[in-house]
Subunit: 343 residues, 2 copies
DNA sequence: ATAAGTTGCTCAAAGGTTTTTTCAATTAAT
DNA sequence: ATTAATTGAAAAAACCTTTGAGCAACTTAT
């Protein structure tokens, strides 16, 4: 393993000091009146030796790593995978690397990971916290280290966030169900201690109340296939009092729901109507295609990254914003109209 | 932004030298005969001040960053997303961080990203190269920096890899189709300059030949929905000479194929049989459920990570292995048996 | 009483940058 | 012929660790 060439080697070869090399290669030649021939010589030698400054040494000296920590609850979930992709690409464009971590929805692990990243002296953090336990996140905030929440956020808005307008999405989706004449609804929710889930449930509830519907249920407790499956099983087992439509609060929950529906030998939408959060390409090919609430995941990722890095580079910028981007409902064919009398 | 407490502060507070603090906190107290009271004092002060050594400084001194670069062609693809998740979690367990990068299937970007990671002095690289252009990867190898390929690999085996036995998977899947009586097959492939794709095509071809089938087509050129859609359109437009079964070489291709089939108003498996690489949860809920070749993605991720880190830690280990893990065919209901005479 | 060994710790260098301060040599001004 | 200003560059400190070499003081052995 050959030694990397460093600035000292270049200096010796060029017959100048380390200082001069550093200045020239950082484009400060003119500013410090380094003569043109010297500059040229240094450039040539650096090129020839394929010199690249050590980013570690640079980080130490500059107290800037050009790295951003990205902490997500589940990279396997397509929603977060897409988010990670967008953020990684955008960061790269701006000269930042992404240090990725998966908390597996575990608050203790999240806290531990956060600490590791801070020890690495990352410049900023992008995080979708796994719960409403937030003291470790507030701590980061209070040190002045830049941090931005994506998707998951906290209601008081003290920590900047970019997320979906979850309330709006659930409200509109539920209205759509209700306008199709459904009188008995269920909502299968995810992690109950996360703001997006709470807002979605609020939107669902608000729509029901607005339409004078009292016969609705809110069940479940995690954004997993398993949860969707079990809760749907329970809903369907209440033979008489079975809902005619279900709102699934994530695409993972939807998959579980579909499995239970299939096992019960029911048909969508004839026997039960369905609509789900998180649009995914495969939803077009289910039978029937499932209507969904598409979160603006690209915009969340690009915007959060842009705003964060901007605030890093012009530090007058305080990075203090709460953004809720509107989701879009993709209408497919999974909610059937119900005649007044008929069930 | 309060200053982080460093080892110097601790030393002053404890009234000992920096050296002593470093040794105690690295558990070398006994080895260097630091007295028990001194050790205790240092531990207490460090605890109280919540001292965490700067990983940047440590990296510089030790020439070890405890970071692994993970370079993938498309994190949005569920296969790679899952791989990223596994690798991230396994690395974390062993005390390594993952620096993630997405090459967007662009060879030039891949090369650029690789250089950035090397400049960051990462300890090792895990990469799924986007093409068979490999000189930049060979260069890394020749510097002695540890590198391991996942999924995508090179035939000469000079660079260690962990991947799926793609040939076997395609061979078995195709045999399964042929045993169901199909005489006219098509294979929609992905990036033609990648080993997994080449092996899959080879398996497909071999099976056809083995069964004496000459009427088969191999079309397509990328692992995308778009490619699957367009190639299927073409296949279906050859009205008379339409294949009765299609092997899709990725789940993304499958989605495109499904779209084209739907637009042509055909039914799976009545009108056309289907089987796809990459098992995904949603395939169970398509109509009909689509049989697939499940790659052992978890094993690929955990094994590659384990082997890589092992070789990093006991450096006698040469890290020189070519591993092909067997995929498993998930039989669903997308291939229909064909009677001898009947089409 | 001296040599040898043990105990408990410190000094200083190294790792690769950037940056503040300093300085010598040359040119221009008085 | 001085003084002042400009030009071109270097020395050294700083960032925060780890570590090899060394040393004073005390204890034990001869």
């Amino acid at each position: 393993m050959q030694k990397r060439v460093n600035i000292k080697t270049i200096a010796e070869l060029a017959g100048v000091s380390i200082t001069t090399v550093s200045r020239v290669l950082n484009g400060l030649g003119p500013k410090y009146r380094i003569s043109a021939p010297t500059c040229k010589r240094i450039y040539e030698i650096a090129e020839e030796m394929n010199y690249k400054p050590s980013l570690v040494a640079k980080s130490l000296r500059l107290k800037k790593t050009n790295a951003i920590g990205l902490i997500l609850p589940d990279i396997g979930n397509p929603f977060f995978a897409t988010l990670a992709k967008i953020i990684t690409i955008e960061s790269k464009k701006r000269g930042y690397s992404i240090i990725l971590a998966d908390t597996e929805n575990n608050k203790d692990l999240e806290e531990e990971i956060l600490q590791v990243l801070l020890d690495r002296n990352i410049d900023a953090i992008i995080i979708a916290p796994c719960s409403n336990k937030r003291s470790h996140i507030d701590d980061v905030m209070s040190t002045g280290k830049k941090i931005i929440l994506v998707d998951r956020y906290f209601f008081d808005g003290k920590i900047p966030y970019v997320t979906t307008d979850n309330y709006f999405g659930a409200l509109e989706a539920t209205k759509y169900i209700l306008e199709n004449g459904h009188k008995h609804l269920a909502c299968i929710q995810g992690a109950t201690d996360t703001a997006p889930n709470i807002e979605r449930v609020k939107g669902f509830t608000r729509a029901c109340k607005q339409y004078g519907i009292k016969n609705y249920k809110i069940v479940g407790d995690s954004f997993t296939v398993q949860n969707g499956y079990l809760e749907t099983k329970l809903l369907l087992s209440a033979a008489k009092n079975m809902p005619t439509a279900i709102l699934c609060l994530s695409s993972t929950i939807l998959l579980g729901t579909l499995k239970a529906i299939k096992e019960a030998d029911l048909k969508v939408p004839e026997d039960i109507s369905l609509i789900s959060f998180d649009n995914q390409p495969f939803m077009d090919y289910l039978n029937p295609p499932i209507s969904s609430i598409a979160q603006p995941v690209d915009e969340i990722g690009t915007f959060a990254t842009k705003v964060l890095i901007d605030s890093l580079e012009e530090d007058r910028k305080k990075l203090n914003l709460n953004v809720k981007l509107r989701p879009q409902i993709i209408y497919r064919n999974s909610v059937r109209p119900i005649q007044n009398g008929k069930k």
